[in-house]
């Protein structure tokens, strides 16, 4: 991708990261770690690939996005705010009783949310249903979904893996946010889903392994997925949980914990320094 666009996307992802920190900080709860780990993926999808229009969020021809790991709602809301679906200031109402920004994404409440998620394992199945209807109705839209690597422990995920391959849903592209951590720690110690790539392949998916923070790699993988016929694509994105905030990186303790004021300020300062470095 062109350098100029790359810089723009990097800047956007940094803004998204700041939104995540502030939303979780103002809520006093929420999930920063898994939001930060897929911020680059959502940014590339929404700002380079997805055919969506914030003023027509229910357009039947739009591309769909399903955050199967629904606890990462801060990253989705932040991207939707940057994209213009919702006012940016509303992010500070996240998880409040008088807010529409529920702890987990709710399609009835938030414009731009295509599926209600939060119960792990279910979103990827809904994405299959959407892709199946896209084929039936001969609409050209594509469906994107993001799975957590801990989420793979849900048996229902593998029901979806079978389904998507069986029905040749090549309009479905899923990402695995392979950050190696879940609530209780290292995924391989809690209940190993490894080797993940071989499993997806065995289930009949086209598998692409990338660095999930390298925007060129994300971009290329999505392009390849678009060109792949007869198979759904799983992009195994090697990621760092908490990416972009030094003290959160690779710390499972930051899965579902809000920063305090001091920690929030440090996180924002780090991201600001990163932006300063980008020079855009």
């Amino acid at each position: 991708m062109e350098q100029e666009l790359l810089l723009k996307l990097k800047r956007k992802a940094a803004d998204v990261r700041k939104n995540i920190i502030d939303a979780v900080f103002s809520a006093g709860s929420g999930h920063p770690g898994g939001s930060l780990s897929c911020a680059d993926i959502l940014t590339v999808l929404y700002f380079k690939h997805m055919n969506v229009n914030p003023s027509a969020p229910k357009d039947p021809d739009r591309d769909r996005f399903v955050l199967s790991k629904g606890h990462a709602s801060p990253v989705l809301y932040s991207v939707l705010a940057e994209k213009g679906y919702i006012p940016k200031k509303d992010l500070l109402t996240f998880r409040q009783a008088d807010s529409y920004l529920e702890g987990h994404p709710s399609l009835k409440d938030v414009p731009g949310v295509d599926m209600t998620t939060g119960s792990l394992g279910q979103g990827i199945c809904a994405a299959c249903g959407m892709a199946q209807m896209g084929k039936l109705d001969k609409r050209g839209y594509r469906v994107y979904a993001i799975l957590g690597d801990g989420e793979l422990q849900e048996g229902q995920v593998w029901e979806a893996m079978m389904y998507a391959a069986h029905y040749k849903l090549d309009n479905l592209t899923a990402f695995l946010d392979h950050n190696g951590l879940q609530i209780d720690g290292d995924i391989t110690k809690v209940m190993s889903p490894e080797p993940v790539a071989a499993k997806f392949e065995a289930f009949g998916w086209n598998v692409i392994i990338i660095d999930g923070h390298d925007m060129n790699q994300i971009d290329n993988a999505v392009e390849k997925a678009k060109k792949t016929k007869g198979k759904p694509t799983m992009i195994v994105a090697e990621t760092v949980k908490g990416k972009g905030v030094s003290y959160m990186e690779n710390q499972y303790g930051w899965h579902g914990k809000a920063p305090n004021q001091e920690q929030r300020d440090k996180a924002i300062a780090e991201i600001d320094a990163y932006i300063e470095n980008l020079g855009v």
Partner: protein
């Protein structure tokens, strides 16, 4: 004529299936749930998910976001109980247009035994916000219910049976979601029944009449939202109630009726149903007798309810 409600469901899907918005899903039971009849006519809109009920329900939800009317069928135990949380979070919470048409409800499944006999599904489905729960009593009512829920936009649990049951209604019948139907008028006691228990309720009416007791008989096909008016009116005018259902006495029709009455007009209620135990193998008719889902039991309970009224 005798017909299973699941058979009528299959016929209804075939009859109304030309509606292009209708999608039918099944989890490897299409010959038993009777969705196979739709599959034959509209194979492009039928999807077998394999033996994967959780995925069937959640993918149905995704399909429903694409302006579809999605019927998802399996046995009640696997659709409503195994996939209960998928129904809750993927269907009811977002209020999506998914119809869970579950067959083989209750002990009248017969020989397959307890693992296949859902006795708790009404209780679970009824407790879900946004859910409508319907249990037809014969083939005609089933067909009309299918038509009505196609037109209704939102989640529905349609509870169907395996066993062929006698006709209750003739062709003049008109089904309306949420509207109970008075089948017999009476002033001494009211029998409120649903599904396969409507027939024994009518038999109990005759038996009671022979003894000089006039029973009112009401068919409640929509267990949620329940027709409060017809229940309150029955309590006011007859003063004693018996409920009859092929479901655990905990959480089903009997509970729903009691909830209405304790809020609005307390009256003695006796419940005929499965007495909080699992089913077992056997011929459906034998099990119905073994579990006392009979007109005789309704008569006994009616007399107890009447005695309570007099106290």
């Amino acid at each position: 004529m005798k017909k299973a409600t699941r058979a009528a469901y299959g016929e209804a899907l075939a009859e109304y299936g030309s509606n292009e918005r209708i999608i039918v899903l099944d989890a490897d039971l299409s010959k038993s749930t009777m969705t196979a009849s739709f599959k034959e006519l509209y194979p492009e809109r039928f999807f077998n998910t394999g033996i994967a009920e959780a995925n069937m329900i959640s993918s149905a939800a995704g399909m429903a976001t694409c302006n579809k009317i999605v019927f998802a069928s399996s046995f009640a135990i696997f659709a409503a109980v195994r996939a209960a949380e998928q129904i809750r979070n993927s269907v009811c919470y977002p209020k999506l247009n998914v119809k869970i048409a579950a067959t083989h409800a209750g002990i009248s499944v017969g020989e397959d035994g307890a693992t296949h006999q859902a006795i708790e599904d009404i209780a679970i489905m009824r407790a879900l916000p946004n859910m409508t729960v319907i249990q037809p009593c014969d083939g005609r009512e089933t067909k009309q219910a299918v038509k009505a829920i196609i037109d209704y936009n939102g989640p529905v649990y349609l509870r169907l049976g395996r066993l062929a049951v006698e006709d209750i209604y003739d062709n003049s019948y008109e089904f309306q979601i949420g509207k109970g139907v008075q089948l017999k008028d009476g002033c001494d006691v009211t029998i409120i029944a649903t599904g396969l228990m409507v027939k024994p309720a009518l038999d109990a009416y005759e038996a009671l009449r022979a003894q000089g007791i006039l029973a009112r008989v009401i068919n409640i096909h929509t267990i949620k939202p329940i027709d409060k008016e017809i229940i309150i009116k029955a309590a006011r005018e007859t003063g004693a109630i018996v409920t009859a259902e092929e479901h655990n006495i905990i959480g089903g029709l009997g509970s729903a009726v009691c909830e209405v009455l304790c809020d609005e007009l307390p009256a003695p209620v006796k419940r005929v149903g499965i007495e909080d135990k699992f089913g077992k193998s056997g011929k459906p008719e034998d099990l119905i007798n073994l579990y006392s889902l009979t007109a005789e039991n309704i008569v006994i309970k009616a007399k107890i309810a009447m005695a309570l009224k007099r106290q």
